[in-house]
């Protein structure tokens, strides 16, 4: 079973292969995208989506689901474009408090054994309401340094590619290669044995939720850096995109089986799917639908692969 085409290998290759297939299709349809400038444009918006997907991955890793991340990213974007720009100290405090709220949510969900879907659906109302309060009408202004960072033009490799690779590697090393990362993932895999070994599941859930909040904050800041202004509904679709991204990247829904590198690849794939469709001159109405279809196709491929795995 040392063949490159063993089912296990195929499964881990599925996310990068889907991304490669999509990229080749885009290059073929629109050769002009095969340049520094083209890639920059194509992948710009993938950065905040990738960050939100990583946030969702932390939640999925402990067998929960966050249906509020889109509203949360919107709120962060609104705060970034207003308070962080006008009164940086207040902005930083507010964003730190938001991360704290995320940690508390993790504690609440764990202690009261609540279904995370319901709690986070409720929280999505809270985030959206706060966003409307902070920024009632679209507007605001991105802080200069974020704007500067997001429009960096490094030599040779476009910034979005560097950012995505760096993000994937940092989270991969921290979560998949470190000892404490294994403990964190264990909370999704077998919480009971972890608890018997003396680790506090409560603490782990709070850490994972806080990490999700942290990356949600980064996502909102990155988004405002690109769009320069914000509105309360700016990132609502991120909720669905982030879940889809984690799954596309090979994450499982239970058992703490996630892949940071895969999640980033999944997010980029979804971000590119939109451009692909517009190059195909397909009806823009089908944009969301195509993302659903891609998700279903990849999941179907995965089922086929694991069937083959059983047979060998």
């Amino acid at each position: 079973m040392s063949s490159v085409f063993s089912p296990r290998m195929l499964r881990s290759l599925l996310p990068p292969l889907s991304l490669a297939a999509l990229l080749i299709a885009i290059f073929w349809l629109q050769p002009r995208t095969m340049s520094y400038f083209g890639l920059n444009l194509l992948l710009n918006l993938a950065v905040p989506i990738a960050l939100a997907t990583i946030a969702q991955m932390f939640i999925l890793c402990v067998n929960e689901l966050d249906l509020s991340i889109g509203a949360f990213v919107s709120l962060v974007a609104c705060i970034t474009a207003t308070w962080l720009h006008d009164t940086p100290l207040l902005g930083i405090l507010a964003l730190a408090a938001l991360i704290g709220v995320y940690a508390l949510l993790g504690a609440l969900i764990h202690l009261r054994n609540l279904p995370s879907i319901v709690v986070t659906l409720g929280m999505s109302f809270v985030w959206l309401g706060l966003a409307v309060l902070v920024l009632p009408t679209p507007g605001g202004k991105a802080p200069e340094y974020i704007r500067w960072l997001m429009t960096l033009k490094p030599a040779v490799v476009p910034f979005p590619i560097i950012a995505c690779i760096a993000l994937a590697l940092v989270v991969h090393v921290a979560l998949m290669r470190s000892a404490y990362g294994a403990i964190l993932r264990g909370a999704g895999g077998n919480p009971r044995s972890l608890e018997r070994a003396g680790w506090s599941i409560l603490k782990i859930k709070m850490i994972m939720f806080a990490l999700a909040g942290f990356f949600g904050v980064l996502s909102g800041m990155a988004l405002v850096g690109l769009t320069t202004s914000a509105d309360a509904n700016i990132a609502l679709r991120y909720t669905l995109l982030s879940i889809a991204g984690v799954i596309l990247g090979g994450g499982e829904f239970v058992g703490g089986r996630v892949s940071p590198i895969g999640a980033v690849i999944g997010a980029v794939t979804l971000a590119l799917a939109g451009s692909f469709l517009s190059f195909l001159r397909l009806n823009p109405d089908w944009q969301i639908g195509a993302q659903g279809a891609i998700l279903i196709i990849v999941l179907a491929l995965r089922v086929l692969i694991s069937r083959a795995e059983k047979r060998t």
Partner: protein
């Protein structure tokens, strides 16, 4: 055990108490003016919540992980296609209704097929399929708002002695739902699966068939709700289903149905639906802006869920 004590233990009681308290607070604030109209409006809007809540309740009762997230997309798709087909003609209403219900049934079949064939959790299956249904709805009418046939609009807004006809119809539907849940093999099987899927299977319950029927029923009810809501609000809008994602789940949970599955009740649906609507009305009457209203709605829903699930922690 005395009668009063057994009533106090009913899981649906708290939703009704909450609804009454919120209504009373509003009535006191306005000095009793318009509280009858508020109640009538609550019954109309509550009726829509109950229709989708009923389907969602059966799905959630199937056990952990079972939830239908495609309800909003299904409502929008059924409503847009039905409205466009009817094109405002009264004679086409039966056709339109059949189309709405038919689309719902197809949506349910697709959802279940995805769950079964791809062996993925229902949350992800219904989420990904809802993308496609939503796109289909956008594509079908390109955002045009087709007026509903007059008799349909009249039916959804008619009142008998101050009570909305649609609320009466949905009360009948809820009674049927209660009988289905408590008195039929299907309903008992759903509860059994929710309590222990393996035990239910060993006891001879046809688990997969029941699950399929439950998802199909849920989506069909969503189709019906979309149809009626479009009739009520003067046509189908692409975002018409939006608030029903949270509402359908919140109504079920606040109504005292266990989110972990295996335990359901219908009366709570009505109590929770009235509570949700009256809550928003109360915040409106108090002069809260959109932002404050959203925040408070979210916090109160979470608060109720935290309170309702107290003591049910099973590890």
């Amino acid at each position: 055990m005395s009668g009063a004590a057994s009533i106090l233990r009913q899981p649906w009681l708290w939703a009704w108490i909450g609804a009454f308290a919120v209504w009373l607070a509003t009535a006191v604030f306005t000095g009793g003016r318009g509280s009858g109209e508020v109640l009538s409006a609550a019954m109309t809007f509550g009726a829509f919540f109950v229709i989708v809540g009923l389907g969602q309740m059966f799905v959630i009762t199937l056990g952990p992980g079972n939830v239908d997230l495609s309800i909003p997309a299904c409502m929008t798709l059924s409503a847009t296609v039905a409205m466009k087909t009817m094109d405002g003609q009264a004679a086409m209403i039966p056709v339109g209704l059949a189309i709405a219900l038919g689309i719902g049934a197809v949506v349910g079949c697709v959802n279940y097929a995805l769950i079964r064939l791809l062996r993925i959790p229902p949350i992800i299956a219904t989420l990904s399929s809802s993308f496609i249904f939503q796109s289909a709805a956008i594509w079908w009418n390109r955002g045009l708002r087709v007026k509903p046939p007059e008799p349909l609009a009249d039916f959804t807004t008619a009142k008998i002695a101050g009570i909305p006809v649609i609320a009466l119809a949905v009360i009948v539907l809820a009674v049927l739902g209660h009988i289905l849940l408590a008195r039929t093999v299907f309903g008992r099987s759903v509860v059994a699966i929710g309590q222990n899927m393996r035990a239910a299977h060993l006891a001879g319950v046809k688990v997969e068939r029941i699950r399929a029927l439950t998802y199909i029923m849920c989506a069909t009810l969503a189709g019906l709700c979309g149809f009626l809501l479009a009739g009520f609000s003067g046509g189908a809008a692409l975002n018409m289903g939006e608030e029903y994602l949270l509402s359908s789940i919140a109504v079920v949970v606040i109504g005292g149905t266990s989110v972990a599955g295996g335990f359901a009740n219908v009366p709570g649906l009505w109590g929770a639906a009235l509570f949700l609507f009256l809550l928003v009305t109360m915040l409106n009457t108090f002069g809260a802006g959109a932002g404050v209203r959203l925040v408070l709605t979210g916090i109160i829903i979470i608060g109720v869920i935290v309170a309702a699930s107290g003591g049910t922690r099973k590890t």
